[in-house]
Symmetry: C2
Subunit: 203 residues, 2 copies
């Protein structure tokens, strides 16, 4: 987001020599494996091959790691909503765009979004993240409601319930999808769109 030059493939020095992004990436991995609360700073340092003090040199606290990671995920999701407005005429089209792009953000930022989806509001940092998630969901619900009025989405289910069910499906992807497997992000997005729009039943 705020990087003006650093799009290079990251130096990767001999052994230590970590920068903030590299440390953040490893920390998020460990947070996901053990859970944020169950992850001690000692465990993070060990995984990095660093002492705790070296880690505290880069981040002021365990919570700052969490905060920066959550911001990465939220920024990307909010970006999808921002882009959906321009040059799309109907609510149905905008909703389709948001769904498909949200799946891709989930895959591209898998660890960050995974962490976001596990946050429960246990601290100020977590509560602020939940607030931004709620705002996102609220905007999508508005899109679903508009699509119902328009006639492109079935109106016999409450917009809020429909949104929650569909995004429940989308978000659950972080529980099992691994980019290494046989299914590409494009296949996955296509499957999600099919099930969400047309369901499982044969016709």
């Amino acid at each position: 987001m705020s990087d003006l030059e650093a799009s290079a493939p990251a130096p990767r020095r001999g052994r230590p020599g970590y920068d903030r992004d590299q440390i953040l990436g490893v920390a998020v991995e460990v947070f996901i494996e053990l859970g944020y609360d169950a992850t001690s700073v000692a465990a993070l340092a060990e995984r990095l091959g660093l002492s705790k003090s070296a880690l505290y040199h880069h981040f002021a606290s365990k919570e700052e790691l969490l905060s920066v990671a959550l911001d990465e995920a939220l920024g990307a999701l909010e970006g999808v909503l921002r882009e959906s407005g321009a040059s799309r005429a109907t609510a149905g089209e905008r909703l389709g765009y948001v769904l498909e792009r949200a799946v891709r953000v989930l895959v591209e930022k898998l660890p960050y979004v995974t962490l976001l989806l596990r946050v429960r509001g246990n601290s100020d940092v977590e509560r602020r993240a939940l607030e931004r998630r709620r705002a996102f969901d609220h905007e999508v619900t508005g899109l679903v409601r508009a699509a119902q009025t328009e006639g492109s989405v079935r109106a016999d289910i409450d917009a809020s319930v429909a949104t929650r069910l569909i995004f429940g499906m989308v978000n659950s992807i972080v529980e099992w999808y691994r980019p290494a497997g046989s299914e590409s992000a494009a296949d996955l997005a296509s499957d999600v769109m099919t099930v969400a729009l047309d369901g499982l039943r044969t016709r």
Copy 2:
């Protein structure tokens, strides 16, 4: 499960006088609010209005509370699968039964299932629970595959992916559904079946 007589509405004595079930119920509430790892035994005792020692009189450890709670959820889900076999001819019918009953178990045992769905395998107790969840998912995937062969479920999506998407949707219910609200469990189950089988799109 092993209660031979105690189906009475629970005594509810003057102030303390807790039994295991009452303590378990409160503990599960707190585990969900704060997360299991972030919940200290002191916090549990405080919520119960008891000392830590009184709590340890009922349960040998914090982990025993978790273990009993997870068993409650898993037992109910496994029961759904057990019942689905008898007297239903096609895989499509069995799958429909499992979906609808799973939603109802989620609602009836909401706190226990919520806790189950947040387990990440951080200890032997958690890993055993995950193993049982995997076995459940595997059986449902088999049902989906049979329904595809039969022709009642669309075959252009991998059975494993379809199962994960649909159960992702079902499981996400624990994130937002509250029995007190306007939507009954029957309405919810009906909405889930509609979206899962026919999708959001109008026709």
